[in-house]
């Protein structure tokens, strides 16, 4: 009887430990961002590797995403403000046609690349393990923003680092300023 009870306690404890451990770690932060090679609206191919040496802001979006649309003008302004400081911005549009996404680009007059992840494979690769496990993986990053450093490491991921939507990208700009200040120091 005692042995059985002990077995149960041990089983439950190990189960609980597994769950707690999985939840306490921050996946992806500090790690190399998943690589990608995607077509742009401009019909050029873009790879993540071609941006190595720059800070990269990635925004996962769709045309119907209200948060994405609210953030759009601020993202364009951020690109204009930080471009000369070695910051590249890209939008990765998830599971939509080129025709539909073209309308979005025209609406907001983006001057940075809009990349097409038509099958959602890249979005899936950016879904942190164990985060929002009830959702299809390719949906998880939608409306999120990431900052990659010059070596391609993920330094900021709004899905993990923030609790509320921030249209004006305040936290992203703050993080970029911190990264740029560190890199500029002699």
């Amino acid at each position: 009887m005692k042995a059985n009870l002990l077995s149960i306690i041990l089983l439950v404890s190990s189960f609980a430990s597994y769950v707690l451990c999985a939840q306490s770690e921050q996946p992806m932060l500090g790690q190399i961002a998943p690589s990608f090679k995607l077509p742009g609206l401009d019909e050029k191919m873009y790879s993540l590797e071609q941006f190595r040496g720059k800070y990269v802001v990635i925004h996962f979006a769709t045309t119907w995403c209200p948060f994405c649309n609210a953030e759009a003008p601020y993202l364009e302004q951020l690109y204009k403000d930080y471009k000369q400081k070695g910051v590249q911005v890209v939008i990765i549009d998830v599971k939509e046609s080129k025709e539909l996404v073209s309308k979005l680009s025209q609406k907001f007059n983006f001057t940075f690349p809009i990349l097409l992840d038509e099958d959602g494979a890249i979005s899936t690769s950016y879904a942190p393990e164990g985060v929002l496990p009830d959702l299809p993986r390719d949906e998880v990053p939608l409306a999120s923003n990431l900052i990659l450093d010059k070596e391609g490491n993920i330094r900021f991921y709004s899905l993990l680092n923030t609790t509320n939507f921030d249209a004006k990208l305040t936290k992203i700009k703050q993080t970029l300023d911190e990264l740029l200040n560190v890199s500029e120091k002699p």
Binding site: C65, F67, N69, K95, L135, A143, S144, T163, N164
Partner: protein, 156 residues
């Protein structure tokens, strides 16, 4: 006894770990509708706490509104669908608002059975289309399939 306790504990943890995928759930009850007139039928909609869905009337054509499809035929038509007034969700950091629904609300349908429809019980197939967001992220559009049970009676 031990075995039952073990199974119970496993179910407890599994239940907590298995997340719900239902952002929106629908509740209907059988309604009596009379032939030859327009009958109001209510459909209960529940949006999971922490989420909101775009309202039927959206303020941006790029957004996906909540819509309702009902299977009808020449003998049973829908004359009207009434969605509730929307709430305003402020997009943080902007002066913009979204028209949304959250929590529990009702959608009212007006069913018009033809006077020649035989009395009896019927089930109408229905579908709610919606697109949900929480405080910082948005989900892809989803569909909820459900049934509307009705009992048709002749108008006296």
């Amino acid at each position: 006894m031990t075995g039952r306790l073990l199974i119970g504990l496993i179910y407890l943890y599994a239940g907590n770990m298995l997340p719900s995928v239902d952002i929106v759930t629908i509740h209907t009850r059988e309604s009596i509708v009379y032939t030859g007139e327009s009958n109001g039928v209510e459909i209960g909609v529940n949006v999971k706490e922490g989420y909101h869905i775009q309202a039927n009337s959206v303020n941006d054509e790029s957004l996906i509104p909540t819509t309702l499809e009902i299977e009808t035929n020449e003998f049973l038509t829908i004359s009207k669908k009434e969605f509730p007034p929307s709430k305003q969700f402020k997009l943080e950091g902007t002066d913009s608002f979204l028209n949304v629904y959250d929590g529990k609300f009702q959608v009212k349908l007006f069913l018009d059975p033809d006077k020649n429809v035989p009395e009896g019980k019927y089930v109408l197939a229905a579908r709610l289309h919606y697109q949900a967001c929480d405080s910082k992220r948005c989900l892809f559009p989803r569909i909820v399939d459900f049934s509307i049970p009705i009992e048709v009676k002749a108008k006296k």
